[in-house]
């Protein structure tokens, strides 16, 4: 039988168009170690890679890499740990085989494999948790540094905000510089109801401007960075608004500074 049909099949195969029995026959032929066909498949695949390279590149959406790396780093550390552990195990087992029987070594291996797997997963989980905590601490540190810088700035002022209702325990402090912006810290503020969010306003000359949205944690606290305004601020106020915020205040005032 001539080799010719295989040469043609190699091209059809690389284009993903070989079907039916022909496909399984060709795959068997390849697996049988045919050098010419392996080379033909390789060359056609390189040609198609060249065709792809010939097209103008396109930048994919950024979230693809973010999502991919999240999945990858969850398995990567586990895989690396498993490999190192295996090396160590190999040394131990080599010694064990000398003293004990091969059967015993196999038994030990199967037990340790499961334990090493569990340890690797645990390591990966702890690592992810550490990364999360580290990111949170960095955020907090940045806020603390910002507040600290403002406090050592003679132009900065500290503005007190109070709850509007009688007997209202809510309070806030704003470290503020008209040119640099500042930070709002609030406490004793009840969690916003579902579908609502707190919105800060800077009021200059009777004109309120939105200064960002925030939510409070379980203990009723929040820290919220505030961008600088173009004109000096007379009053700061916090209102309860629909989620997503609004361009002008509509909801009840929760906190306000004295004029």
């Amino acid at each position: 039988m001539t080799h010719e049909p295989y040469e043609t099949q190699a091209a059809v195969y690389v284009l993903g168009a070989l079907d039916g029995e022909e496909r399984s026959q060709f795959e068997e032929h390849l697996a049988g170690g045919c050098v010419e066909c392996a080379e033909a498949v390789r060359e056609h695949a390189e040609t198609l890679a060249d065709v792809a390279r010939d097209a103008p590149p396109m930048i994919p959406p950024a979230h693809v890499k973010t999502d991919l790396m999240r999945r990858v780093s969850a398995t990567g550390s586990a895989r690396a740990t498993r490999r190192r552990s295996w090396l160590r195990w190999a040394a131990v087992s080599a010694a064990a085989v000398v003293g004990v029987s091969a059967f015993a070594a196999g038994f030990v291996a199967s037990r340790y494999e499961a334990r090493i797997g569990a340890m690797a997963r645990e390591t990966a989980r702890v690592r992810a948790e550490l990364h999360r905590q580290e990111a949170e601490l960095r955020d907090r540190l940045a806020v603390a540094q910002g507040v600290n810088d403002l406090l050592s700035d003679p132009a900065a002022r500290v503005v007190a905000l109070r709850g509007s209702g009688p007997g209202d325990e809510a309070w806030g402090r704003l470290v503020w510089d008209d040119a640099k912006g500042g930070y709002l810290v609030v406490a004793n503020v009840p969690a916003a109801p579902a579908g609502k969010v707190y919105e800060l306003w800077t009021i200059s000359g009777g004109q309120p401007r939105p200064a960002g949205l925030f939510t409070v944690d379980a203990s009723g606290r929040a820290t919220h960075p505030v961008a600088p305004t173009r004109s000096p601020v007379d009053v700061f106020a916090v209102t309860l608004e629909p989620a997503g915020g609004v361009p002008a205040p509509t909801g009840p005032i929760v906190l306000a500074s004295a004029k």
Binding site: E7, T8, Q9, A10, A11, V12, V14, L15, G16, A17, L18, D19, G20, A38, R42, E43, H44, A45, E46, T47, L48, A49, D50, V51, A52, R53, D54, A55, P56, P57, M58, I59, P60, P61, H63, V64, K65, D67, L68, M69, R71, V72, S73, T75, G76, S77, A78, R79, A80, R82, R83
Partner: protein, 179 residues
């Protein structure tokens, strides 16, 4: 210094997540337009792109440089996954070759649209004789098998196969002097 792509795949096989990031940075822009051309939907294409690199990460240890370059490896994976997606969509009930027919109908329509499409799809395949370009496009981008193509074009199966092979060999000759 830039790592050789083979080294990046080896590091991926050893569980180096950074190497996976660098591998993605190097090849995502190459395979994304290919995937998009096949699946014709940017959300689907983004999904497939992530799947391709996720599988490359998992399969890195099985990469054999003797069987092809890293480019060919990732391009082949991208094409296969993209076609899988298209076939899954077709199985869900859409007409068998609707995306292809739509693309071809659009191709014959508004000249401005046609020019715009050309910018995206213009490639070296345009330099093949029409009958060779057609079978390669239907198979490689359209996901049709040789039998389906033969039925569609009302040509003998043998003719379709020969056109595919001649087309690929010709493409290689076209690309060679340029690279």
């Amino acid at each position: 210094m830039a790592w050789a792509a083979e080294d990046l795949i080896r590091q991926m096989a050893e569980g180096d997540a950074d190497a996976c990031g660098r591998f993605y940075d190097r090849y995502a822009r190459l395979v994304y337009p290919l995937i998009l051309r096949i699946v014709q939907d940017s959300a689907d294409a983004a999904d497939v792109l992530q799947e391709v690199f996720w599988e490359a990460w998992q399969a890195a240890a099985r990469y054999d440089p003797a069987r092809g370059s890293p480019e060919a490896w990732i391009v082949m994976r991208a094409r296969t996954r993209a076609i899988d997606r298209v076939r899954a969509v077709r199985r869900r009930g859409e007409t068998f070759v609707a995306p292809l027919d739509e693309a071809m109908a659009a191709d014959r329509g508004d000249p401005a649209q046609r020019a715009a499409d050309r910018v995206v799809v213009a490639d070296v395949l345009e330099r093949l004789p029409e009958h060779q370009r057609e079978v390669i496009e239907l198979a490689y981008y359209g996901g049709l098998t040789q039998t389906e193509i033969a039925e569609r074009l009302k040509q003998p199966l043998g003719t379709v196969k020969t056109r595919m092979r001649t087309g690929l060999v010709r493409l290689r000759e076209i690309m060679k002097p340029a690279t």
